[in-house]
Amino acid sequence: MHKIKENIFWVGSIDWDLRNFHGYDTPSGSTYNSYLILDEKPTLIDAVKSYGSQEMITRIKEIIDPAKIQYIVSNHTEMDHSGAIDELLKYCPNAQIVCSPKGEEGLKRHFKKNWKFKVVQTGDVLDIGKRKLKFFLMPMVHWPDSMATYLESDAILFSNDAFGQHYASSERYVDEVGLDIAIAEATKYYANIVLPFGAQVLKVLDVIKDLKIETICPSHGLIWRKPDDIKKIVASYQKWALYQSDKKVLIVYDTMWHSTEMMAKYLFTALDKEGISVKLMNLQTAHISDVVTDIMLSQMILLGTPMLNNHMLPSMASLMMYMKGLKPKNRYGFTFGSYGWSTVGFKELESSCQEAGLELISDGNYIKFIPDAEELKSLDKTVSLIKNKLNV
């Protein structure tokens, strides 16, 4: 039994096997966190993925008869949290579903059922006995329906996907696993799920700064309870929401016959010699969900691809499409690559960079077939320009 506070329990499910969360690579699995509050009207905060329903129900049964549950708060419609509600309602058919207006709309679209809904707005309070739950809509963090639930008496924020991490463990708290691991996973989570919504995250941070929060219970991964850990994750969210990054260079490339690779490695060596923090990622070995994490952390992104039938390689096109959706702001870009006879596809690469929000620092550097020593040296001016732009 995982007790969070007196009469508050974690009753979620652990997804040890998860390796692909709609395209996001999750080497550490994940958890779907569900929380049970025992009071006059027992309340469940969020459910789990459909295939975790029996695990959740078993955990609930260790504590109470599920039939006693009066309210199921659905902070977010996405199926990793609502998927098990249908199954759970077989055990507590009279429970009311508490959600935002968009949550009701979404749950009806997902389940095609007329559940008993109790629709709430920001500031609404639900009396469950000795305790009161307060709701805050947080549209687009990260769906229109997203909502957080605050339990003032226990100073707990149930933040749903915000502050979450895809990390499976028997430990429930950040401090039991280590802050570095939790921050690394939360960074990847933010980059892959929350990055487009900086303005909306800032609004949420503005609301929670006035709340007394001793525990942040997200819907994935570990719970934040040490004051310093909470400070760290909130400050990190602030930084990411403002699209701030570090003076780092990320070189992302793919290659056919090693020519673009030669350019990428030349840039790496030259930048490294200058003492600049620089990372090389080959799209054949790096997963795009890790690439966008490093894009979020780096101020300067260098993108290299050869031409294949007058287009960038599909691996680069995939990254570009992903980036257009994630919209990283306040970053510089530079494009390079090898071609055989036509440079026409590099225009597409450049416009994709701009659509994704990168400010190109100069024209790209494109070399016919295999670069010679002189041509590689032409990248030196890019290195100077990077130093200049990063102010290092």
Partner: protein
């Protein structure tokens, strides 16, 4: 000029500000936005907007 709110995500279109990131200069009224303009935050079309009173 009237402001409009996105009924899906709450984004406010303010004609005084425009939507510069997407090529809409400040001073463009909501009515003057092109038909294919979408909410910069959630991507829904003009039909999902309502005037702010």
């Amino acid at each position: 000029m009237k402001k409009y709110r996105c009924t899906v995500c709450g984004y406010i279109y303010d004609p005084a500000v425009g939507d510069v990131d997407n090529g809409i200069p400040a001073g463009t009224s909501f009515d003057a936005l092109p038909d294919n303009w979408v909410c910069p935050d959630c991507g829904v079309g003009k039909n999902d907007f309502e005037p702010v009173d």
